[in-house]
Amino acid sequence: MKKWVCIVCGFVYDQAQGLPEEGIAPGTSWDDISDDWLCPDCGVGKSDFEMEEI
């Protein structure tokens, strides 16, 4: 499973876990997350995330 890391604050979006608190179900792929979604910890946009294969 892929993880996406915020390059500003280090927040990790793990596709396997999703983000149920924000209504993003486990297994939601990065591409299916809305383009105006913001990092929950620091508020940067999706373009400030990098993929990290773990």
Binding site: V8, C9, G10, L19, E21, L38, P40, D41, C42, V44
Partner: protein, 381 residues
């Protein structure tokens, strides 16, 4: 709009420039910066060792790359010496430029405590990439480090430095780490977890002198304790850089006073980031400046937009003991209730009417931060 000039190339300046360009590709854009204009993540400075980052790999883009991406002119290593707000001209130590709208995003500087001794100038602070380069150049495995200040940055550095040093001393005037941000059990646990990594605590204490010694630096504390160190790092807080603002006779307080449109008392001069105080709030964190940058970009592109602040918790980068704090943004009467569970601490601050207005989460309970934030009223509606 003509020409937008931004002073500062930190997170605030570059984020504003990027958001502005999403809305306006026509206007001229000039960014003036004292440093080399590299784009990097400032929050990462306090956990770069754990993330295996060097000062060079922390850089996401050079000034040249930023200039191309933003279709902007960037003057690097350039100091603004004067601003004529009547003629709307910015003068620097190298050249000058007209502006139609000017944004001050020149940040804050590290507060330095008055410390005596013949090595007080050797005390390091880290508030930007250049500082961090200097700090890392002194750092080698096994060095003895004294950290002045057990606040957010001090504790984050202590955790990060523990990857290469087992001799870390932390000194603070307060009697617990993170001072008033944490409730007692959470603070005690953080202290314990950092101790497990090799940190020694000197609380209710202060550094009075730093002198050159035969074996590195000799650090003398207020209570008479003597410590030997190779590096002394001061992390006792930031103060908004108000020099330009004061020269311009802008209203200032803890930051440059701006309204909800990030506008100062001069209608063509705006401020955001660590140097700004929006209404009564000066919040030197990333999330507030992201909110400000988006609102201000819209305003500068012709669509007047007021900034709003939800409750914005801060994630403390202490992986040995994960913590999220959301202190009440303004002084208010109320009480903390601390709940200690097997998964961590959950503390809530309630005002006199019983409304939750702040919280602390630690350990696995940090996962609750989004749900908890929803209980807290907006900071700026």
């Amino acid at each position: 709009m003509g020409k937008l000039v931004i002073i500062g190339s930190g997170q605030a300046g570059y984020t504003l420039a990027r958001e502005f360009r999403k809305r306006d590709t026509e206007s001229r854009l000039l960014i003036i910066t004292q440093d080399d204009g590299s784009s990097y993540s400032k929050p990462m400075l306090s956990n770069a060792l754990s993330k295996d980052k060097t000062p060079e790999t922390l850089i996401m883009a050079s000034a040249e790359k930023m200039a191309t991406d933003l279709d902007a002119e960037i003057w690097t290593n350039t100091l603004v010496t004067d601003i004529d707000s009547t003629e709307k001209i910015v003068t620097t130590d190298q050249q000058s430029s007209h502006y139609d709208q000017l944004v001050l995003a020149n940040g804050a500087y590290s507060i330095r405590a008055p410390i005596k001794g013949n090595a007080s100038d050797d005390i390091l602070t880290v508030n930007n990439l250049a500082d961090y380069r200097a700090f890392r150049s002194h750092l080698e495995k096994g060095k003895r480090v004294v950290i002045i200040g057990a606040g957010l940055i001090g504790c984050e550095f202590a955790n990060d430095l523990s990857t290469i040093s087992s001799d870390i001393s932390i000194i603070d005037l307060a009697s617990q780490p993170l001072g008033r941000l944490l409730t007692p059990h959470a603070a005690e646990t953080l202290k314990q977890k950092l101790s497990d990594l090799g940190a020694s605590w000197y609380l209710d204490n202060a550094v009075s002198e730093v002198n050159k010694g035969g074996n590195g630096l000799a650090v003398t504390l207020k209570d008479g304790t003597n410590l030997q160190a190779d590096i002394v790092l001061s992390a006792i807080g930031l103060r908004a850089d108000l020099q330009l603002a004061e020269k311009l006779k802008l209203e200032t307080d803890r930051g440059i006073k701006v309204d909800r449109f990030l506008r100062s008392n001069n209608e063509h001069i705006y401020a955001l980031g660590d140097c700004a105080q929006v209404e009564d709030l000066n919040l030197p964190f990333v999330m507030p400046l992201m909110n400000c940058a988006r609102a201000l970009a819209a305003t500068l592109a012709g669509e007047e937009t007021a900034v709003s602040y939800p409750a914005m918790p801060v994630v403390v980068k202490t992986p040995c003991y994960p913590i999220v704090v959301c202190p009440p943004p303004r002084p208010v009467e109320g009480n903390w209730e601390e709940e200690v569970t097997d998964s961590g601490v959950r503390s809530m601050f309630k005002d006199a009417s019983g409304q939750p207005i702040g919280f602390v989460l630690t350990g696995d309970l940090t996962k609750e931060r989004l749900a908890m934030s929803k209980l807290i009223p907006d900071w700026l509606e």
